[in-house]
């Protein structure tokens, strides 16, 4: 077991289609109900059958928001996943598998010796059938074995299984029998573990949910009444969450034929006055970009969730990255005011999307909400939702509708924001024109009116920047190393920070996190780097895109950059190794 981080790591691995994810969810839920903090991390291929997949649960008696690279306890259900994940087992770790006549390579045999791993084979499928279950219940046999070796109470798992199979009650008893069988089976050559954590029953009431589930909840809180999407990992599950809840919410949830139509339908719905949301990934967003400029030109609010995965093109469809900041900041032809925000953790997922709608409506423009596969599909533990954001629509108040004239709609103003009202509200009708236009939307190609309208739209960028929150400093004011970044690296840094800084008072670190990225606010950044001894840019991409944006706006050059772009998130070990090495 790792002797520095206050966490223990379990991994269920197999091939796609073996139910790895549901095993992981049962584990996470049962561990949470046992009184622990959990964090669930998924790796899986873009396949329906085969390949290798895992659901890894980190547990602790402290809150966790980021994954480990290494595992203490590996449950393996397929040969490919065994060979892939064996090297991720920490020294002294345990590997339980159901792979008959498994052959280890020479290197693997050496690794087992070097790390003093404890391997055990259990014929879990045979055991499941002997116990009166089906072969798929071998998963539950293995969970029973795990529980036995962790010396945990079986009741929380039983409760989770009962709940899991509530709609198929005939499966409850065989599953519970398999669980007991695994719990009591003698596992030769493997010593029991005593977890060094205090169990706190209050954790039972915590919720376990993904970043995408939180975005779906945030959409409900923000008053979104129409959701349009075309399936694309890692954003597809938002469509599932909202369609599963659509009877309760009454929301229109529509899978549309392509991302261009997704964006256009949303802009149509927003134009007439409801709140509509879309979510996609890089390729889908590329298709949307022309429509994004249309929203900007017609000053129609538009909010898009851009769930990042490695590109270009199809890239690594089911893995993580944060390489689409540039496409968000520079999306589309022409020049226009826009806002780019990036979430990192469950709280920010819930809050930022609500704020994004307020910004989009108030400034009548495009807001792009960046997330990452790592945030979208990881399983976070939360006790409560943050408070809802009050809805701000920026529409002309009812008592001022009567005085409107058509040329108020795109009136030249100092802030760049003009009065916005809705079709059907007033006989002051207007044209929302994607051609350059005069204040009532009439087409113009004249130089002076063009410049006036162009400037008006761009002034919104300045007005918006003045209202956005500053980037936030995490950790001590003074530290020997100062990271600057955005997105999910925050979670890994914060998971490491408290313990590292306490153990290394001579080598502490702090972190400046950008949540509201564009328009870029620079004052807090300049103050931060001036007070820093050593600044390190940390990003889940190869070009250091936030760094380049900051350099463009401030002239500040990042001499040290910690960049990762292999489809994997920053693991806690990555940060520790970096701190130790440098």
């Amino acid at each position: 077991m790792h002797n520095f981080l206050n966490r223990y790591t379990l991994k269920a691995a197999g091939e796609s289609g073996q139910g790895v994810n549901s095993v992981g969810e049962i584990l996470a839920k049962s561990l949470k109900e046992s009184g622990l903090y959990t964090f669930g991390y998924r790796e899986y291929p873009s396949l329906i059958r085969g390949g290798y997949a895992c659901h890894q649960i980190d547990i602790s008696d402290q809150p966790l928001t980021a994954p480990s690279a290494m595992t203490d306890f590996l449950i393996c259900m397929s040969r490919v996943s065994f060979h892939v994940y064996l090297p991720t087992v920490r020294a002294g770790g345990i590997v339980i598998h159901n792979l008959r006549q498994l052959q280890l390579t020479e290197a693997e045999q050496q690794l087992v010796v070097d790390r003093q791993l404890q391997l055990a084979y259990l014929p879990a499928e045979t055991m499941a059938i002997e116990t009166g279950g089906k072969s798929v219940m071998s998963n539950v046999i293995l969970i029973g074995v795990l529980w036995q070796l962790l010396s945990l109470d079986l009741e929380p798992v039983k409760a989770v299984l009962r709940h899991e199979f509530a709609r198929k009650p005939e499966f409850i008893e065989p599953n519970l029998a398999c669980l007991d069988r695994g719990f009591t089976e003698v596992v030769p050559g493997v010593a029991k573990i005593k977890l060094p954590f205090t169990l706190v029953p209050v954790r039972e009431a915590d919720a376990l949910l993904t970043g995408n589930a939180l975005l779906a909840l945030a959409a409900v809180a923000a008053g979104v009444r129409a959701y349009y999407a075309y399936p694309m990992t890692p954003s597809s599950s938002i469509l599932s969450y909202l369609s599963n809840a659509y009877q309760e919410t009454g929301m229109l949830v529509k899978q549309v034929e392509d991302e261009i139509s997704v964006a256009q339908m949303a802009i149509g719905s927003m134009y007439v006055g409801t709140r509509a949301l879309v979510a996609t990934s890089g390729g889908g967003f590329d298709l949307m970009t022309e429509s994004v400029t249309m929203a900007a030109m017609t000053e129609t609010p538009f909010v898009c969730i851009l769930g990042q995965r490695p590109g270009p093109a199809t890239g690594l469809p089911t893995w993580t990255a944060a390489g689409d900041l540039n496409v968000a900041v520079y999306a589309g032809h022409g020049e226009y005011a826009r806002c780019v925000v990036a979430l990192s953790d469950p709280e920010s997922a819930y809050t930022i999307l609500q704020k994004a709608f307020n910004l989009a409506e108030k400034f009548q423009t495009v807001v792009i909400v960046l997330t990452e596969k790592e945030i979208a599909e990881s399983l976070f533990q939360m006790s409560e939702l943050p408070a809802n954001e009050p809805i701000e629509r920026g529409l002309v108040p009812a008592d001022q509708i009567e005085a409107l004239v058509s040329s108020d709609r795109y009136k030249i103003t100092d802030s760049g924001v003009s009065p916005r009202w809705l079709p059907g509200q007033s006989d002051a009708v207007f044209d929302a024109n994607s051609d350059e236009h005069t204040p009532d939307g009439s087409l113009t190609e004249e130089a002076e009116p063009t410049k006036q309208m162009y400037d008006k739209r761009l002034r919104k960028q300045v007005s918006m920047e003045a209202e956005l929150p500053d980037p936030v400093v995490w950790g001590p004011t003074q530290a020997s190393l100062s990271f600057v970044g955005w997105g999910s690296p925050k979670n890994t840094l914060l998971d490491v920070m408290k313990e590292w800084n306490a153990a290394h008072p001579e080598k502490t670190f702090n972190y400046l996190h950008y949540e509201y990225i564009y328009p870029l606010r620079i004052a807090a950044f300049m103050k931060f780097v001036e007070a820093s001894q050593r600044v390190v840019l940390i990003e889940n991409n190869a070009l250091g895109q936030l760094g380049a944006l900051i350099t463009q706006h401030t002239g500040y050059l990042f001499t040290e950059r910690f960049l990762k772009y292999d489809g994997r998130p920053f693991f806690v070990e990555d940060i520790i190794e970096y701190l130790e090495r440098t």
Binding site: D206, L208, A218, G223, A226, G268, S269, P423, S434
Partner: protein, 298 residues
């Protein structure tokens, strides 16, 4: 239901759709007649300008977006249908019309036409079919006849054309009509029927283009059209009959309401979770209760 807070009159007049902006189309362009017919149809159906949303694609017709009244949206080339569909579902009190040319609709945005028909959104769509790209100066469109010498095709078009009505009727639409830009009265009646129809109304307007399409001026159409309502026994609910009669676009061209599904259910009426809801999506923007949804994850 009349929702506008500020307009006083209850009867729509032709003047309500007036615009001060000057037209910029060629002399004898079919768009003049089409605009007149749209205004006449909306007036005759008493659709208030403040509750009408006219959505324009990019093309010669789209340059008329600021030359007519009502709320308007002038979108992107080929993309006006999903915009109009998204608008129509959010506020069913609006009369939503969309306009596109044969270029944008049957070239760049042809997929949108397919899915607008499938969804049966309550939108009246006018296809301005003048057999070429006018605004970009006379290139071929998907409906240009083979062999025609066009800009960028000095030896004539080599691809086979799309027959718009054959294509649309193959998709089982709920309303399909054809008219031509030389007959304002016939266009007016056809558009009125489309506006009244609950669901997606596809109206192909055979349109003259005096500048780039000399082959089929108004006179050419005038001498060939035949209104199906004058045919004894023509039954617009029979799609097989519509398919048969709409085939000929060279000699005797059928116009009028070719097909209408009398039991058409528009998009929003098909939504299982909206059956008991009486409000519109635009009236429902309020902070939603997430506590129960969150509790399900505990």
């Amino acid at each position: 239901m009349h929702t506008c807070d500020s307009c006083q009159h209850q009867i729509t007049t032709f003047a309500d759709y007036f615009s001060n902006n000057l037209y910029t189309w060629c002399t004898n362009c079919g768009n003049y007649g089409i605009h007149a017919a749209v205004k006449r149809a909306l007036t005759a159906e008493n659709r208030h300008a403040c509750e009408t949303l006219l959505c324009f694609d990019i093309g010669c017709h789209g340059n008329g977006s600021d030359k007519i009244g009502g709320y308007r949206f002038h979108g992107l080339h080929g993309r006006i249908l999903p915009f109009a569909c998204g608008a129509s579902v959010a506020n069913r009190n609006l009369t939503v019309m969309a306009f596109g040319g044969d270029g944008g609709t049957l070239g760049e945005g042809i997929n949108h036409l397919i899915h607008a028909i499938r969804g049966n959104y309550n939108v009246t769509f006018i296809l301005h079919n003048n057999l070429n790209y006018g605004l970009t100066q006379g290139q071929a469109s998907s409906t240009t006849k083979p062999g025609m010498i066009m800009t960028a095709a000095p030896d004539g078009i080599t691809s086979d054309p799309i027959h718009p009505m054959r294509f649309v009727l193959s998709l089982q639409p709920s309303f399909a009509a054809r008219t031509f830009s030389g007959d304002v009265k016939h266009m007016t009646e056809t558009i009125r029927a489309g506006v009244r129809h609950q669901g997606f109304s596809f109206i192909e307007i055979l349109q003259s283009c005096p500048t780039y399409n000399k082959a089929t001026p108004h006179e050419w159409y005038q001498s060939r059209v035949k209104d199906v309502s004058t045919l004894a026994g023509y039954e617009p609910s029979n799609i097989a009959a519509a398919r048969e009669i709409s085939e000929d676009i060279e000699n005797q061209i059928a116009i009028g309401v070719l097909y209408q599904n009398p039991s058409s259910r528009p998009f929003m009426e098909r939504q299982a979770n909206r059956q008991q809801v009486t409000t519109e999506l635009i009236n429902e923007v309020a902070m939603g209760d997430t506590s129960k949804l969150f509790d399900a994850y505990r």
